[in-house]
């Protein structure tokens, strides 16, 4: 089966809106090479459960593809068409199971030394697509906030080393009511610009009091889901002949209902959380990894105007000698290790925010919770400087957004 043989009936298994979109654009889908198309269908098949920004991106991509002349199609997709795929790949059900196709295509490209060529083709395609996409201004300056180090009493090593050169490092922050002030500022933004999935609060532990307008994800609230997932994985790996590729495919096939996520009223958010746990590495075990990966995925997929990420201490990785002596004990928390994880996580949050439209006007604030250190990044704030002004978090937020 190759793309030129596609027919409308073959999309019968797609959710309603995705099916409608696929059928309406069948002619252009038939023109795309097999090395490319399943990647697009992998996005399209979940259209009904995607965030508004993602839906718009799929629609824009289809509009762009439909506008291309035959010569442009050749130019855009020639490098993809030049990749050599195996007959075995053609026989896969890449229409209904694009994720499995991509898994095997990736292995094939690595094995045949074509991964670099695919990477170059994808990079060039992305550049062209971005250049062709309409520029939609965002209503307010994008804001990211990272709150790190919860529960750490003291820490002498330098923090925010990666972020400091991009903004101002404040060393005399007044920490009283810091989290409350930040969440209040976020609430004001959500009230003023109430976009669906526009304002997020992610917590690596339990959520603090917050406004219901915020889209929330927390590690603690997903504890039953994480337990169910780990139990599922254990059962899977005990099956004879189970390998990592098959395990990944089985994880990709899980639905929210399989792990008890169908009880949520928000199916889009439920599926987002499912993917955090089934596609993220380490998100099931370490809260710091969960918070960092959630921030990355929220920014990549939902492109929120506001994202607050509060890291919490993760369980301690116990050394071998301790496991040998005391295997069954409840794990303790690693406060300092979690602070170091979160310091890097804050940097990655900023990097991922910088990849979004409006980056040159965006603002970012990272704060060592309960302490007097913070970094603020914004268009008017000097870079690579230090300030000992005794501001509270509300004032810092205003400065970052000014």
């Amino acid at each position: 089966m190759v793309p030129r043989d596609l027919s409308a009936e073959q999309f019968a298994g797609y959710p309603p809106q995705a099916r409608k979109l696929a059928v309406a654009n069948l002619a252009v889908l038939q023109k795309l090479p097999l090395s490319f198309l399943p990647g697009f269908l992998h996005e399209l098949i979940d259209y009904d459960y995607k965030f508004p920004v993602e839906r718009a991106a799929i629609e824009n991509e289809l509009t762009t593809l439909n506008s291309l002349s035959p010569a442009q199609i050749d130019a855009w997709f020639g490098p993809f068409a030049a990749l050599s795929l195996s007959p075995k790949l053609e026989q896969l059900d890449w229409i209904n199971q694009p994720a499995e196709f991509l898994e095997q295509e990736s292995a094939h490209l690595w094995t045949t030394g074509q991964q670099d060529a695919f990477r170059a083709a994808a990079t060039a395609y992305g550049s062209r697509l971005r250049a062709a996409a309409p520029v939609t201004p965002i209503p307010i300056r994008r804001l990211g906030i990272a709150v790190i180090g919860r529960g750490v009493e003291s820490y002498d090593a330098p923090l925010f080393r990666n972020l400091r050169k991009h903004g101002t490092w404040f060393t005399q922050v007044k920490s009283e009511n810091g989290l409350e002030l930040l969440l209040r500022g976020v609430e004001a933004r959500a009230l003023a610009h109430p976009l669906p999935y526009g304002h997020w609060y992610v917590d690596g532990g339990q959520l603090a009091d917050h406004n219901q307008l915020l889209t929330c994800v927390s590690y603690s609230a997903l504890e039953p889901v994480r337990s169910a997932l780990l139990a599922f994985m254990q059962r899977q790996i005990q099956r004879p002949g189970m390998g990592p590729e098959e395990l990944r495919s089985n994880l990709a096939r899980l639905s929210p209902g399989d792990l008890g996520l169908d009880k949520t009223e928000d199916d889009v958010l439920g599926r987002f959380q499912l993917k955090l746990l089934t596609e993220g590495s380490g998100t099931q075990i370490f809260s710091t990894t969960f918070a960092q990966w959630t921030a990355r995925e929220a920014l990549r997929r939902a492109q929120p105007l506001t994202l607050v990420v509060r890291f919490a201490p993760r369980q301690r990785q116990r050394p071998m000698n301790e496991l040998l002596s005391n295997g069954g004990a409840n794990p303790e928390l690693d406060f300092v290790g979690s602070l170091i994880d979160a310091d890097m996580g804050a940097y990655y949050q900023w990097i991922n925010q910088e990849r979004l439209p409006g980056a040159e006007q965006s603002s970012f604030l990272a704060w060592f919770e309960g302490h007097n250190q913070a970094v603020a990044i914004g268009p008017t704030l000097p870079r690579g400087t230090e300030s000992n002004s005794p501001f509270d978090l509300g004032k810092l937020l205003s400065l970052a957004l000014s």
């Binding site: 990647g39 292995a107 990477r119 994985m233 710091t288 496991l323 290790g337 940097y347 990655y348």
Partner: protein, 388 residues
């Protein structure tokens, strides 16, 4: 491979690789006061006499599972590798640009290092390499006994790395210390099992063992170590790599193999996404490399005639590559994940020299062949002339 995540403007991979190389060179030259190697090409420091070759010992350590410059050789990372910087690099020939053009999975990449061919086997299957290994060339060509070539490796996936179909019975014996400990302590807790079976790339999957791996009962006969003593010592160690180094040192003392290959793996905890654990892994590996080198200086069979080669199997993804998640994985195939370094020190090497010439990870086997006097006929790499 995510279509949308690779979309960004990038400088060429070659440019990034060169930049990484220059950064390492500048740092190493400045910090350790080393000389640029191109000025020193001339007569070989290697003693080529056959008698000397027979005494030659080579230890290869893979600095796994891959560390990036910003956590090692860049200014902000130097605090993590004090032993490499202060003790080993001043004695080393340092190669600033070692490229891996193969598949970036730890087993397949280590197998490629050991065969001198970019292997394409399934990274997560317990299968032997498709091409002859350095151990088979070494033993077959030089008629060396089984006791002369050993591999100490971290996880079960490596149990077939000792030999291909080329030299059945002529490969290296593979010791999997975690596996030994697991067998020795069978019936303990779930957490413990998890640690011992952990392959960080696929934490919940363990391939079936099959092949010529070292068996528990050989602890006593070969390493003169009772199971009880083995477990007792393991209780004093904090990580699987520490256990590997303990076994390696025991092998050096009791078997004195001429070719010893040690694959470190603690750093690969990075796949869990916990940056602090990744850094701890780098610091531990740095310490263990020095510990092994120091052990070679005091073991009579090794002192003065040992060449040590240390290199990562590959790097990790750059922070800037939107297709990855920074240090956590090595999935993008970007320049940072493909470009690493190597140091060679001890017998036959030039101390305090930096080489910028690009070499490939598959060049290690031909270089070892030239050093030790065997012919790696099927290797696709080239002997590194700066080591000859």
């Amino acid at each position: 491979m995510d279509r949308n995540r690779s979309f960004r403007d990038v400088v060429s991979a070659r440019e990034v690789a060169n930049r990484l190389s220059c950064s390492r060179r500048d740092f190493v030259r400045t910090a350790a006061g080393l000389t640029l190697g191109s000025a020193l090409m001339g007569a070989s420091p290697f003693v080529r006499a056959e008698a000397a070759r027979r005494k030659r010992k080579v230890i290869v350590i893979t600095f796994g599972g891959g560390a990036r410059d910003q956590e090692t050789f860049a200014p902000e990372g130097q605090e993590n590798i004090p032993h490499l910087l202060q003790e080993l690099i001043p004695q080393s020939s340092f190669f600033t640009q070692v490229t891996n053009r193969g598949i970036l999975g730890h087993y397949v990449a280590t197998a490629s290092l050991a065969t001198g061919v970019y292997e394409t086997l399934n990274n997560f299957s317990a299968v032997p390499p498709d091409h002859p290994t350095v151990f088979e060339y070494f033993r077959k060509d030089l008629r060396r006994p089984a006791s002369d070539a050993w591999v100490v490796a971290p996880s079960n996936g490596f149990n077939r790395i000792g030999e291909s179909s080329y030299g059945r019975g002529m490969g290296a014996t593979v010791v999997l210390p975690k596996r030994l400990l697991s067998v020795a302590t069978s019936g303990t807790t779930t957490d413990y099992e998890h640690l011992l079976h952990d392959n960080y790339e696929t934490p919940l999957y363990t391939p079936q063992l099959e092949g010529s791996e070292f068996e528990l009962q050989q602890l006593e006969t070969i390493l003169q170590l009772s199971v009880d003593d083995f477990i007792k010592h393991a209780r004093t160690l904090s990580s699987p790599d520490e256990l590997s180094v303990y076994i390696a040192k025991r092998l050096m003392r009791l078997q004195a193999p001429s070719l010893l290959w040690i694959t470190m793996h603690d750093i690969d905890i990075a796949h869990s996404g916990a940056y602090s654990l990744y850094i701890e892994g780098i610091r531990r590996t740095d310490r263990l490399c020095a510990e092994l080198w120091n052990a070679a200086q005091v073991e009579p069979e090794y002192a003065g005639n040992t060449t040590l080669m240390i290199l990562p199997d590959f790097g990790r993804d750059a922070d800037e590559d939107s297709g990855g998640n920074g240090f956590q994985h090595h999935r993008t195939g970007d320049a940072a994940s493909r470009t690493t370094w190597m140091m060679a020190l001890g017998a036959g090497t030039r101390a305090g020299v930096v080489y910028d010439q690009p070499v490939q990870s598959i060049d290690i086997v031909p270089s070892l062949g030239a050093m030790l006097g065997f012919s790696p006929a099927q290797s696709q790499g080239k002997a590194i002339r700066e080591l000859l």
